[in-house]
């Protein structure tokens, strides 16, 4: 949901090529396992992005 905000902000700042790390919304109201799933999701993406940059 907030991806549009991030893309809009990057576009406005002229940095459209920057990769995004996406985490499912919402975090509030999630049980611990849901938060853990998002953490794994984020780390996997980050690892991929770092690998891609290297």
């Amino acid at each position: 949901m907030f991806q549009r905000l991030a893309v809009g902000e990057m576009t406005s700042l002229g940095i459209t090529g920057m990769p995004l790390l996406l985490v499912d919304h919402p975090l509030g109201g999630e049980r611990a396992e849901g938060v853990s799933r998002r953490a794994v999701q984020a780390v996997e993406q980050l690892t991929g992005l770092i690998g891609h940059q290297a």
Partner: protein
């Protein structure tokens, strides 16, 4: 003008349709911001002067852009100094305009005007001041919203992520009713205060005959389980807008503004046991001493200090007041009106 000029058919319908299509307005009819009108709004000011970058899209908030939006909103040029002061205040980092713009919370900047200049141009603090019906209130508040949308980029669902939005996002501007206030003004002189607030919550008390009775009802209205106030503790604030009749009762018992602030600070509370039931419990940012509380009957404060309770008087006849809880990730900022 440095802004590109758009040529349209000379009819209100055509102008509204085009501005809506381009997502340049709030859905209501606008005054076309022609070059002459924008120059009149600027009143000799340098349109190229920039007050800062406005989030979330970080566009430059030049006086010309502010003037364009003030014209669109229907402002008289005499209102423009208040619009400028309000934008200056919102761009203070303490106000956290990024958070106010982009949150899912229904926050809108409430503009409170103090001083003789606001009164002279018709900013209304009397009967029905939250609206509708008063051009200065309506159009200054609307100009702020159009600036937040068109300069800041707070379009619903993109830059403004409010889950449900709020009618206060159309326009939210009042004056303090200094004439009927038993206390000194909220701010001295010609001043604008911006406060990141929810829409006003009504306080109905037709039976109170003492300060304690009035303020007990106010305190009860101020804090609910569903309020942000008290969850994000360090920036939690409350604005108490006392109707003149309630203010008279409170002051009649000898209470100063500071006494009211302390009463609300000490009494606008919920038990720890109730707070545990929902709201934002578990994702709050309380200080360590509050996190150490174990007694479910404990009554932790909901704002950091009595100074985080703003008390002003506005409205007219009737036994109603209002509470405006803040979003709790923004702190109120005041700026003088440069004339």
């Amino acid at each position: 003008m440095s802004t590109d000029v758009l040529e349209l058919q000379d009819s209100p319908e055509a102008v509204l349709a085009e501005f809506c299509k381009r997502e340049w307005c709030d859905g209501l009819p606008i005054v076309p911001p022609t070059e002459d009108r924008v120059q009149a709004m600027l009143g000799g000011r340098d349109g190229g002067t920039v007050l800062g970058a406005m989030p979330p899209l970080w566009r430059q908030a030049s006086l010309e852009k502010l003037a364009v939006n003030a014209v669109m909103a229907g402002c008289e040029p005499s209102y423009f100094p208040i619009v400028v002061a309000a934008v200056e205040a919102m761009l203070d980092p303490i106000f956290n305009l990024y958070g106010v713009q982009a949150t899912t919370h229904p926050v809108a900047p409430l503009v409170v005007v103090n001083g003789p200049y606001g009164r002279s141009i018709g900013v209304h603090g009397g009967q029905g001041c939250f609206g509708p019906g008063f051009r200065a209130n309506a159009t200054i508040g609307r100009a702020i919203r159009l600036i937040l949308m068109n300069v800041g980029g707070a379009w619903p669902g993109r830059g403004d992520m409010a889950t449900q939005g709020s009618p206060a996002k159309y326009s939210y501007c009042i004056a303090e009713n200094e004439e009927l206030s038993p206390w000194e003004p909220l701010r001295a002189g010609d001043t604008v205060t911006v406060y990141g607030g929810e829409p006003p919550h009504n306080v109905n008390d037709h039976v109170a005959t003492t300060a304690a009775m009035v303020l007990t009802t106010v305190a009860d209205t101020a804090i609910t389980l569903g309020s942000n106030v008290g969850a994000y503790f360090s920036q939690a604030q409350l604005m108490i807008v006392l109707g003149p009749e309630h203010a008279k009762t409170v002051a009649g018992d000898g209470l100063s503004r500071e006494d009211v602030q302390r009463f609300i600070y000490e009494n606008a509370r919920l038990t720890l046991g109730k707070l545990k039931l929902g709201g934002m419990h578990g994702m709050h940012d309380w200080p360590a001493w509050m996190n150490a509380l174990r007694d479910d009957a404990a009554l932790p404060p909901r704002v950091p200090s009595p100074d985080d309770v703003f008390v002003l008087v506005a409205g007219g006849s009737g036994k109603h007041s209002a509470v405006v809880p803040n979003c709790t990730f923004s702190r109120a900022v005041s700026r003088p009106i440069a004339l």
